[in-house]
Amino acid sequence: MTISSPKISLTPPPVLPGERFVIPADDPLPLDNGGRLGPVTIAYRTYGRLDERKANAVLVCHALTGDQFVAETHPVTGKPGWWETLVGPGRVLDTDRFFVICANVIGGCMGTTGPKEADPATGRPYGLSFPVITIGDMVRAQKRLVESLGIESLFCVVGGSMGGMQVLQWATAHPEMVFSAMPIATAARHSAQNIAFHEVGRQAIMADPEWCGGAYAERGTRPHRGLAVARMAAHITYLSETALHRKFGRNLQDRDALSYGFGADFQVESYLRHQGSTFVERFDANSYLYITRAMDYFDLARDFGGQLANAFRGSRARFCVVSFTSDWLFPTSESRALVHALNAAAANVSFVEIPTDKGHDAFLLDEPELFKVLGGFVEGCAERRGLKR
């Protein structure tokens, strides 16, 4: 027995709400692979108001499967915004006080140019003809967007996981534009173990016959089984053994005894299948390939002669690095390495490890200690930036 097929409509999704910014074809985005990409549409959302000095802008960077709908009901899933716990009126990133921007990364599938969008040269979806992009490319595109809004300096750049990688990229590639940076549950490079997990996910997608070498959109198929398996494997890495045990233990799903078959006997199986099947309703398989690749390629020190500290040399930004005790995907040791490098560059850095058993996902969950720490950091930065309460 395999995962139940999700109900997928092949009719085009409704036009997503939110703003669009276009990088024109005559001024294309230079890419790390040496190529250029244009036109590029960037789908983004903003919350709050930019103040007169344009000093209160906060850029939120989303993680692998996140998107721009950070603080509002998601138009596709109907679920709350992915970081509503942190962003919104009265929250740490108070939208009554800050101008919050969140953009879908390039290569994504929520309105920003990515493999599922049409290549203007052919009129057909890019598929695998889309260039392999990097975290650096994502940030380069975001910089164009931020500049188009008339913002010369971001009060804060914040993100977790892949979002944290973008934060680090921002702080090192465009230090003059970053007043403060909050890289959370992240690392300055993707580890061998993390690349390995991503490879499992990609192979699952590519092993699905409906993937069709990436051209599934034109064939009218969707590699939903492969993508669901990729999501299931990845989802395990977002949790901790303790959390899984606490949530599910060896509890059986809708039955009193083992079935002696391969159905979802255990609650944990049922849960993962559910995670897989709901994911494919909102995410594009090729986007998953491209974005995981971008994370794998991330290695901040490589651009600075192999010395991570050099990346932060002369940085005047204030950093708040956060890790979680039970996160084994981006463990505290990665954050500590980052902090050592920041110290070596005499950067202004705070570093906290939050005790939790919720694993990597903790950064998206209701963690009062996290909000307390981030709140204090943001307040301290706002004071120095001269932002009113």
């Binding site: 902090v339 110290n343 906290v352 204090g376």
Partner: protein, 215 residues
């Protein structure tokens, strides 16, 4: 949270512990300061708000760090024994090590790191040579438990206790200059004695030294 923290970043406290105030008064306004073992951030908060320093902290306890950062201080979780080596030389004008030296594994190395990364180091520690400590050991024949050493030998974090004369000797051995030395009484107030010295070593409850590199 293990201990209630009193620090309030938004409403900085003007009144800090007496011995911390003595240290604060040694710091020039507007300088770069690293407080190693900053605890709940009391001194650092004062320095940032009343001396306008560019202040950073390092603290080993997670609760202490989280509380400091939650109050807007730039503090990292770290260990004086292992994490000072990351900082570049001359990164700070002052590096403070208040009541922490005796709890480090390698006090000599820690002291050398302090004067490497700071132009000056300010170090305070409880004086094991104080007369009443000597008396307790002499009369009872047991490890003294006093205000400064308030836990039994088997559970104390203070693994490298020293006297003021011991400290001065170590500084001399490793080429560290004592620019200024004083002793504090049990309440943390300075006493009119020059340290190091026979009387300072006998009467001082705490030693407080400003250190520099030998030119």
């Amino acid at each position: 949270m293990a201990t209630p923290m009193q620090l309030v970043g938004a409403h900085p406290r003007a009144n800090i512990r007496v011995d911390l105030q003595v240290i604060a008064d040694m710091i020039e306004p507007g300088t770069r300061v690293l407080d190693v073992g900053c605890g709940d951030g009391q001194l650092l908060d004062y320095l940032v708000h009343f001396r306008q320093v560019d202040g950073r902290g390092m603290e080993i306890s997670q609760a202490g760090v989280n509380n400091c950062v939650a109050h807007g201080l730039s503090v990292i979780q770290g260990d004086a024994d292992t994490d000072l080596k990351d900082y570049p030389s001359d990164a700070f004008d002052y590096v403070i090590l208040s009541q922490t030296l005796q709890a480090t594994h390698d006090p000599r190395e820690v002291l050398m790191q302090l004067v490497r990364i700071g132009r000056r180091a300010i170090v305070s520690f409880p004086n094991f040579g104080a007369w009443h400590v000597r008396l307790k050991l002499l009369w009872s024949g047991k490890m003294p438990v006093t205000d400064s050493y308030d836990v039994a030998w088997y559970e104390t974090p203070n693994i490298h206790l020293c006297t003021i004369d011991d400290f001065a000797e170590l500084c001399s051995d490793v080429g560290i200059t004592i620019e200024r030395g004083m002793v504090l009484d049990a309440a943390g107030r300075p006493r009119a004695l020059r340290a190091p010295g026979f009387l300072a070593n006998l009467l001082g409850e705490q030693g407080l030294f400003v250190l520099g590199r030998r030119a």
